[in-house]
Symmetry: C2
Subunit: 223 residues, 2 copies
């Protein structure tokens, strides 16, 4: 009884290639037309395949959508993790809050597409409790990451938060999403990082207190 699970013998090399292209085309198309507005046909066309290829790789349009969401969700988490790591290597005198914010709130085309996609997924989830659970789970992971980042941030600032970090992460996310939306609607009226840069520092300050001068800095001990 060897683990002969799913080891095909024929020509089994192109599959990931194809799925990848389909996913990419799907991202473009969903971003342009929205979930319902995007037809499977157009997605396949853009990817350079026919519908046969699609149904050979995904069961339904929704499955494709979920796969796409998972994929990019993961990339967001990664990006945030990088931000956390980068924080450690920041010069001691830099303003860590601003550093993180400007890093996080760049709005390139990818970010724009991702916003459209994830917002549409949120709408989808509000209507479908099952999808809502999946989304909540992902948001939870993301939020944990944000909370960790905030923890380190306070640490560096020599302050101790007086509120639940998870809840503060919720707020931060809300601000980020909300202001991203506004800056996408009025690209030349509102810089995407403006709200966060303006209000988060004083807020962070307001919901934390100066740490009783215990516990020295762990990682980098230079002045």
């Amino acid at each position: 009884m060897p683990g002969r699970v799913t080891l095909p013998k024929g020509p089994t090399k192109r599959r990931p290639q194809t799925t990848a292209r389909l996913l990419e085309a799907a991202l473009d198309t969903f971003a342009e037309r929205g979930f319902h507005g995007a037809s499977i046909e157009e997605i396949c066309e853009r990817a350079g395949y026919t519908r046969g290829a699609f149904y050979s790789n995904f069961r339904t349009k929704e499955a494709l959508f979920l796969a796409l969401f998972d994929l990019h969700a993961q990339s967001v988490v990664d990006r945030l993790t990088q931000a956390v790591d980068a924080l450690a290597e920041l010069p001691e005198d830099a303003d860590p809050v601003r550093a993180v914010l400007t890093r996080v709130s760049t709005v390139d085309e990818a970010e724009r597409r991702w916003y459209l996609l994830s917002t549409e997924f949120t709408l989808h989830a509000i209507r479908r409790p099952e999808a809502a659970r999946a989304l909540a789970e992902h948001d939870g992971r993301l939020r944990a990451e944000v909370a960790g980042l905030l923890g380190r941030l306070f640490d560096r600032l020599g302050r101790r938060p007086t509120v639940d970090l998870d809840t503060l992460a919720r707020l931060t996310t809300a601000v980020h999403e909300g202001s991203l939306a506004q800056s996408l609607v009025e690209p030349d009226r509102l810089a995407p990082e403006e709200l966060a840069v303006t209000f988060l520092p004083p807020l962070f300050d307001a919901v934390s207190e100066k740490r009783r001068t215990r516990r020295a800095r762990g990682s980098r001990g230079e002045t």
Copy 2:
């Protein structure tokens, strides 16, 4: 040939009735299925008409969508205006911030539908610059209302804001929308007013200073 513009003589009584029902059915349907997902046919069905009635009252599905948005957008402004007025009649010792917040962040079914609709409209606007202008204009009116409300709020608190009220209104909106989204995705994990109630008071405090005890309670504070 004087200005005989649109003065029909025949049976001209039912029209507003019909449009109203169509609009209502459209709100339901858009909320359930989304813009693209909702078919004109279903909307008419729910309203108790056929497609003929629709095309007699609207030029296209998008026109219907716009009309619906305008209608409800206006109702939101009204609601906020009421909140401002109600503020004036609050007992002197009440916490005005909390009072306003709980009033604004009730999430009934109507609010839910409105969120779905306006968010979808936002997505639509991000893709269509023309729609974006319309949305920006409405958001502007709304924001002015919010800014006025904030102004009165600070006034009552005996504080003077140190930041631009318009920008602060942007932030408030962002928080409201963002946290509304989160509470709709996880209805039993996050109360819709929790983020606002938790963080806005300390933030408002942080971005304002105690007023130099001059100038009694007039009607409105200038810079």
